[in-house]
Amino acid sequence: MTEHETLEQRLHEQGISRRSFLKFCAAMATMMALPPSSATAIAAALSQAKRPSVIWLSFQECTGCTESLTRSHSPTLESMIFDLISLDYHHTLQAASGFAAEQARDEAMKEFHGKYLLLVDGSIPLKDGGVYSTIAGRTNLDMLQEAAAGAAAIVAVGSCAAFGGLPNAQPNPTGAVAVSDIIKDKPIINISGCPPIPAVITAVLAHYLTFGALPALDDLGRPKAFYGETIHDRCYRRPMYEQGKFAKSFDDEGARNGWCLYELGCKGPTTHNACATTKWNGGAGFPIEAGHGCLGCSEPKFWDVGSFYTPLPAPAADVTAFAQAAALAGAAAAVVLSTADRAKQRRAQRSRQKLTVSDLKGE
């Protein structure tokens, strides 16, 4: 744990050539939309970087984020880099358990106070004193506040940590909130997604190691380099959208010919993420390439913004009942007011005084 040797040494030991390392740096620079010359800067910085201490806290989550990070890219350089941070505490990945695990966290927090990176996945329940998720007898809220106090920066990994995610979905029985709802005095970077793209996590860490600062963020705290554009903007099926070629069901001819999935509920147009460019499973593809529309998982409240299969232009709630009730009410109002009008008319007719000859004569 305390062996914080440089990255280059570790890479060399693990048989990663300098050429592969430079290729990785160039890829990182490209992904983050940095100028080409910055690849050498990244290489220089990374090769000399000491392994930063990272504490990873998992709260109300499904471990999908960790699975995404560790499994899908396992033989690539990205995960090697991830190996090479000093992951001092991670529920799922650490060998230690029980008291020893909690002690490792305490030691890392003490030794690297003010310097360690805090990675969080999962939301934090606040209802009923936070009793709905506890670790070693302590609530998530308590553990987050303690760990955040000494962190240089916090990375909220996945939509649960970034925006509350699934636990936060209506009716939110545990009162789940995002990291940024609790911690206000530390830089927080949200890497949203359910799960997020592994390369994005790696790139953010590489950026932090190179420049000592977090990358440019959008208004939801997500790195602009990856969340600056929508899935729709970069989708390979975009020309089909522009041409008005839409699949009508998941197994019709349009779907087989790779037509746009907009009418099948694709949320690509309103979802910011890099799936369409960075892709998944080592570049094998992304959901739309597999024939399913985007669910919008990297956006806040994605569980609560209507069905995954409702097209964007369609109503997100039933309007028919409202329309029927309104039509009846409108008709009733018309009948009542018309009746009142007629009654008024009849009254006026009854009370009309007849003009007589004597009136005209002015008598």
Partner: protein
């Protein structure tokens, strides 16, 4: 703009707008119909229904006798209405909406046709507004309601075209603005001259029926 706002305009906002629109329109239309007419004691010289239906049909076309008096207004008016109706009823996204609400749809027109219709409608509206300011008679006749209804009709067209062609703002922002602008139109329409979207044909039938009863061939 965020996702929740979009959900609101697609959900609660749409429910409110639909309720107000349907309530207002059903009230306006039924109230007009219930006004009724006194039975005419004269001998009919022709059929009310034939005259009414004929006028409903004929007034949908440009009459050469009328166009001479305000050729620009008549042509621009037709261009706007035709363009507006084409974009409203034949854009595939709108048909998705109708299918979701009514349970049936119809084939869409190609995107190029929609683009042309939308641009013509927007251009006609701008031209009509400019003409409203330039022409002394129109300027004298214009009031607050005219500018309100112009704005409320123009915004859905403009935001819709921007959305379709990816102009200016993000999809999320433009979709939210587009739906919100339509809802504003729906809420105000029944209580302004925009109610003509339902009452026009009734009024035409009434004029035609009166003339038909009197045996006037109009």
């Amino acid at each position: 703009m965020d996702q929740e706002l979009l959900l609101w305009v697609r959900g609660t906002g749409l429910q409110i707008a639909t309720a107000v629109f349907v309530l207002g329109m059903s009230y306006r239309v039924l109230h007009l119909l219930l006004l009724g007419r006194k039975p005419s004691l004269a001998v009919a010289r022709g059929s009310e229904w034939a005259g009414g239906l004929r006028t409903m049909w004929q007034r949908s076309f440009m009459l050469p006798s009328l166009s001479g008096r305000g050729l620009f207004t008549v042509i621009a008016g037709y261009v706007f209405h035709v363009g507006f109706l084409i974009t409203l009823f034949f854009l595939s996204q709108h048909i998705d909406l109708f299918r979701a609400v009514f349970g049936f749809g119809w084939p869409a027109l190609p995107r190029g046709v929609i683009d042309v219709a939308a641009v013509l409608a927007i251009g006609a509206m701008v031209a009509l507004l400019v003409h409203r300011f330039i022409d002394p008679v129109k300027r004298l006749l214009s009031g607050f309601e005219d500018f309100l209804t112009w704005t409320l009709s123009f915004l859905p067209l403009l935001t819709g075209f921007m959305l379709l062609r990816n102009i200016g703002f993000e999809y999320l922002t433009l979709l939210t603005l587009h739906i919100a602008s339509v809802e504003l139109l729906m809420v105000v329409a029944p209580f302004t001259k925009l109610a003509h979207m339902f009452t026009t044909f009734m009024a035409r039938w009434y004029n035609g029926a009166v003339n038909g009863f009197k045996g006037i061939n109009a």
